[in-house]
């Protein structure tokens, strides 16, 4: 029998195996990349090098936020040998039980991982991985320990950097950093467990700039998790870049001085440079030292007491608190009335206390005097003319038209909306329009008499102190403003685009001179309400306000800018429950203006009186 044909069976066997293997190799090596990914998981370690955050400078180039080096005491259980718990506890100054408890905590807690797909929570703890045993130790703390760490294999120190504040001021401006949550890590792969992230203030708003660029090293690791070499000789590695320098408009000396003046008081001060919209100082009282919230250890120690404090130091009053503006609002009513042509600078109204109350003063015969006296009946009459312009025979319809015109002006002054700016935690304030009152009273069911309290800045009107300060800047500029903001520049970039846009109001510049004159009289003419803000060489224009806060004591407000010609600073001082605006708010504004423009304060008696006052 001839079996030669059987060779073809064998040959085809070999051909088939060769064909299948080639296709399989093509699939595994070219089409499907899951094996390549698996190889990465197995053999490559992506080592991230966290850069220090960008430092922050004030407007005069003073470094106000920098970084300080701290040390983590790391442990790798797999490397430990003959671990002597007692000796180790003695070295770090703990009890033996505390050391053991910390071990349990790390094994259970630090490695805990919830698998999103299975929903199972498993301990991801691995003996070969490093975990921080003690976090954020200072050089002094680690120095004694580090010298003896050789006796404890498996322990080593690791350098990290954390924020450090040169001045104990501006906590509400900077915000603070805290450890990222797992959800945040999943949302942004920049972060890994243990990294910090900006939580409030400019640290949060400029997080992506300040954090810098991470350096990444790809390392080939062995089956025992040792580093073998750089992957592909460092071809894909990148260098860590520190965050860029950031320059603020803040004058840290002014900020510090303001915080000092407001000790023992509850309230806030906001100062803006009118020509640029840069915030010079933003003080929330009571304040706290930003160094209190640096690092996990400090936060867990200090945050609870700050949060529990009845004076609410964590609450950023200048941005978030909304108050009725009180009498400083009369400046805006005057501007609208002038622009609408319903009064002239020479208009006089009697101080008729039948509709609204007033303090004792002679009737104002013209507008500047009305500002000087802060006459309530005068503004009742002025606002009535704005709202009820007689554009419709129906009184209710007329009021609706008038109020909406009024609200439009207010909006052009930068009120009733949230600024598009680099300040986190802003609130909107409230400027009522016809829809607002329709909701309360019904359509065409209200007229000026219903809503008359808006004429003196009470009632439904609410402004944040930041908005009040910006009103001051707008008046100082005679009808325009830049959105108030903190940051002048980051690295090579100037201010954000939206800060370069000039917002022009609906009021003609020519109407502002008479307002300026009125504000001057408030400070410099006898009978003016803001005489306490008077300075010798600098003409201060101001306006007092006393915000009713029944049943508690009134809030004191003072709005000012200076100098009168070519204004450099606009400031609002808001002291809660301090009574009359002229008594407490005006002198603080005067002191701060002098401090900012001159660098020193001449009236030390007044200064001492303000420093010593405790108003809560």
């Amino acid at each position: 029998m001839n079996f030669d044909t059987r060779k073809y069976v064998i040959i085809s066997f070999i051909v088939v195996v060769g064909f299948i293997y080639t296709s399989r190799l093509f699939y595994m090596q070219v089409i499907d990349d899951s094996w390549a990914l698996r190889a990465q998981q197995i053999a490559e370690k992506r080592k991230e090098i966290s850069p220090p955050r960008g430092p922050v400078y004030d407007r005069h180039g003073k470094k106000i936020v920098s970084n300080r080096t701290y040390y983590n005491l790391m442990m790798v259980e797999a490397d430990m040998k003959d671990f002597d718990t007692l000796a180790f506890a003695k070295l770090i100054g703990w009890t033996k039980e505390k050391v053991k408890a910390r071990f349990r905590e790390i094994v259970k807690g630090e490695g805990k991982y919830k698998n999103r797909h299975t929903g199972k929570t498993t301990s991801n703890y691995q003996k070969v991985r490093p975990y921080p045993f003690i976090k954020e130790m200072t050089l002094d703390e680690i120095a004694n320990i580090a010298a003896h760490l050789e006796e404890f294999p498996g322990f080593y120190e690791e350098v990290t950097s954390m924020r450090s504040y040169t001045y104990a001021n501006g906590a509400n401006i900077f915000g603070y950093l805290s450890e990222v949550y797992r959800e945040e890590i999943e949302a942004d792969h920049f972060y890994k467990a243990g990294d910090n992230m900006g939580r409030a203030g400019i640290e949060r708003f400029y997080e992506k700039d300040l954090r810098g660029q991470k350096g990444i090293r790809y390392i080939v690791t062995s089956a025992l998790n040792n580093d073998v070499e750089s992957y592909m000789e460092g071809k894909y590695d990148t260098i860590a870049k520190q965050g860029p320098n950031m320059n603020l408009g803040i004058d840290i000396e002014l900020q510090a001085y303001g915080e000092k003046l407001l000790k023992g008081k509850r309230g806030c001060v906001v100062a803006i440079e009118p020509a640029t919209g840069e915030i010079l100082a933003l003080i929330s009282a009571p304040s706290f030292d930003p160094n209190l919230l640096v690092g996990k250890r400090n936060i867990s120690r200090n945050y609870p007491s700050l949060a529990r404090d009845p004076q609410k130091p964590l609450y950023p009053r200048p941005l978030a608190a909304q108050y009725p503006p009180g009498s400083i609002f009369k400046l805006l009513q005057s501007l609208i009335a002038l622009q609408e042509g319903v009064i002239t600078p020479e208009s006089g109204f009697p101080c008729n206390k039948s509709m609204v109350g007033c303090h004792d003063h002679p009737s104002a015969g013209n507008l500047p005097d009305a500002i000087k006296f802060s006459c309530n009946p005068y503004y009742y009459a002025v606002t009535k003319r704005i709202i009820q312009q007689g554009k419709d025979r129906n009184n209710f319809i007329d009021a609706e038209i008038g109020l909406n015109i009024w609200a439009k002006y207010m909006k052009s002054f930068g009120l009733g909306y949230k600024y598009d700016t680099d300040i986190t935690g802003l609130t909107t304030g409230s400027i009522p329009d016809s829809k607002y009152y329709d909701k309360w009273y019904g359509h065409h069911r209200w007229a000026f008499s219903t809503i008359r309290s808006i004429s003196i800045g009470q009632g439904e009107i609410q402004l944040t102190p930041l908005q009040m300060a910006n009103v001051g800047a707008m008046i100082a500029n005679k009808g325009w403003f830049y959105t108030p903001h903190f940051v002048k520049s980051i690295g090579k970039n100037g201010p954000l685009e939206q800060f370069k846009k000039r917002h022009v109001t609906m009021v003609d510049p020519k109407h502002f001179d008479v307002i300026h004159e009125g504000m001057r009289r408030v400070v410099y003419v006898d009978g003016g309400t803001g005489r306490q803000a008077r300075l010798k060489d600098i003409t201060v224009c101001g306006k007092t306000g006393t915000v009713q806060n029944k049943p508690k004591k009134d809030h004191a407000v003072f709005l000012a800018f200076a100098p009168m010609h070519n204004p450099k600073i606009s400031i609002v001082v808001f002291i809660e429950n301090a009574g009359f605006g002229g008594t407490w708010a005006a002198p603080i504004a005067g002191l701060m203006i002098e401090k900012y423009l001159k660098g020193t304060v001449t009236d030390t008696v007044k200064e001492k009186r303000m420093l010593d006052a405790v108003l809560y």
């Binding site: 066997f13 060769g18 190799l25 090596q29 070219v30 899951s34 053999a43 062995s222």
Partner: protein, 465 residues
């Protein structure tokens, strides 16, 4: 050697060249895999590559000796050589165990694996037995005798235990198949037990070996990929069960066979071949589907046991460590590879792939050279196998032909199993990649195989028996 002839006369140069190329490629891979920064010299005997150079030189020297000796002795002394290797296999059983197996004969680090040389002894005796006068592989007695020749070393090797080499010995069945062995008498006995059936001859019986192997190969491949899920980059949501890959491959193979049918000469043969392809395809699909269905329907502990048996899992806790690492290394090579000496998963230093310079040497090669390299390597082995079969078929001596087939089939086995376990197609059995893996015994025994074949072939004009 006849007078006046040079040693190089009638040597098959293509085969010799591909042998040398594979050995040099292997040496280069061993060098890059076991590379030690502190002693980069290739000839440093303290390093594995230095040792491999020595093995290589010894192998070539042994090869030279083989070429100098007249080829007649292999037929004449086939039985003594076979018995000698059997004795070695017995002796090795009394040696101290190393890595759980008594496979090594020798002192210290220097040693040989008798099992490697037992392959040569068995090949020669089998060739001699089959080529004896008055031998017909259709006789049941002859078939049994041939099987006994194979079975004795197999049993001894299993006692070591060395599962890999044990499996390799089944390659001799293919050789016997080529020489006309039939299991029909056995099959008929069973088939005719069924009442109402009286066959005189069955197709399955005469082609029992390739059919059995095709079925085993199909079953194992199906099991290995059954739990896999195929996904693609560009369609991340589409998940195809691994079984679909088996079906696709079968369909492609059937289409390929249909394409080649047209080259079959006579119309009748073509018709027969078409019927075989259709029946074969239907059977393959049926077998693969039932294996897949049965496996998927099993309880998880039963699955575990099967996966364990297939080497899919080293141990129930280790979750398929070796194969997983090996496949990751192969896959990470991508199309062009990472470049020479840049293997990161399978270098000895990182040690993710165990035994990466011996049994898993394909991994660092695939990682460094990518699909381009592995494709060329597969082609080189294919070329070598076809060349040996060509050489076998041109012999007038049945002895040489049988011997040549044993060489081809043993190499084919090593190739298929070794690479198969790196790509998830074969169970993890530790056998070396011929001429490539680090190791003296395999290097020397494969070289001896090769040179004996070259010598026998060079004398084909006057070896008639």
């Amino acid at each position: 050697m006849r007078k006046g002839e040079k040693i190089t006369t009638n040597i098959d140069w293509p085969l010799f060249s591909v042998y040398i190329i594979l050995m040099l490629m292997g040496l280069a891979t061993v060098y890059s895999t076991a590379y030690n920064v502190d002693s980069p010299n290739l000839f440093d005997y303290s390093q594995k590559y230095g040792k491999q150079v020595v093995w290589l030189l010894i192998s070539l020297f042994l090869g030279l000796l083989v070429l100098l000796i007249d080829a007649d002795i292999y037929r004449k002394f086939a039985t003594p050589i076979y018995i000698f290797t059997l004795i070695l296999l017995v002796i090795v059983l009394f040696m101290p165990a190393k890595n759980g197996a008594r496979a090594w004969l020798g002192i210290g680090t220097l040693g040989i694996q008798p099992a490697e040389f037992a392959k040569i002894g068995t090949s020669l005796l089998l060739a001699r037995y089959i080529s004896s006068v008055n031998i017909k592989l259709q006789n049941l007695q002859t078939v049994l005798m041939a099987n006994v020749i194979i079975l004795i070393p197999m049993v001894l090797i299993l006692l070591q235990p060395d599962a890999g080499t044990f499996v390799v010995f089944t390659s001799f069945l293919f050789v016997m198949y080529r020489e006309g062995i039939t299991y029909d008498p056995l099959v008929l006995k069973f088939v005719n037990l069924i009442p109402g059936i009286k066959f005189k001859q069955t197709w399955v019986g005469s082609h029992f070996i390739p059919i059995m192997f095709a079925v085993v190969f199909l079953c194992i491949s199906t099991l290995l990929v059954s739990n896999n899920i195929i996904t693609f980059d560009f369609m991340p949501n589409v998940k195809i069960p691994g079984f679909a890959g088996v079906v696709t491959s079968l369909i492609l193979l059937a289409l390929l066979s249909l394409f080649f049918l047209r080259y079959i000469g006579s119309k009748r043969d073509r018709k027969n071949a078409l019927i075989i392809v259709i029946i074969g395809f239907t059977l393959c699909i049926t077998i693969a589907s039932s294996v897949n269905f049965l496996f998927q329907g099993m309880a998880s502990h039963q699955k575990d046991r099967i996966e364990l048996f297939l080497g899919l899992r080293e141990d129930p806790d280790g979750e398929d460590y070796n194969r997983n690492r090996a496949m990751a290394a192969v896959g990470s090579g991508r199309f062009l590879g990472k470049g020479y000496n840049k293997a990161s998963v399978s270098s000895v230093e990182s040690n993710h792939v165990p035994e990466s310079e011996t049994d898993f040497i394909f991994c660092p090669f695939a990682e460094e050279w990518g699909f381009l390299g592995t494709f060329i390597l597969v082609c080189l082995y294919m070329f070598m196998l076809f060349r040996i079969i060509m050489i076998a078929e041109r012999q007038r001596s049945r002895f040489v032909r049988v011997y040549a087939y044993t060489v081809a089939m043993i190499l084919f086995y090593h190739f298929a199993v070794n690479i198969g376990m790196d790509i998830g197609f074969a169970p993890v059995i530790g056998i070396p990649l011929p001429f490539f893996s680090y190791g003296g015994s395999s290097m020397m025994s494969f070289s001896m195989f090769m040179f004996i074949l070259l010598k026998l072939d060079s004398q084909r004009s006057y070896i008639l028996q």
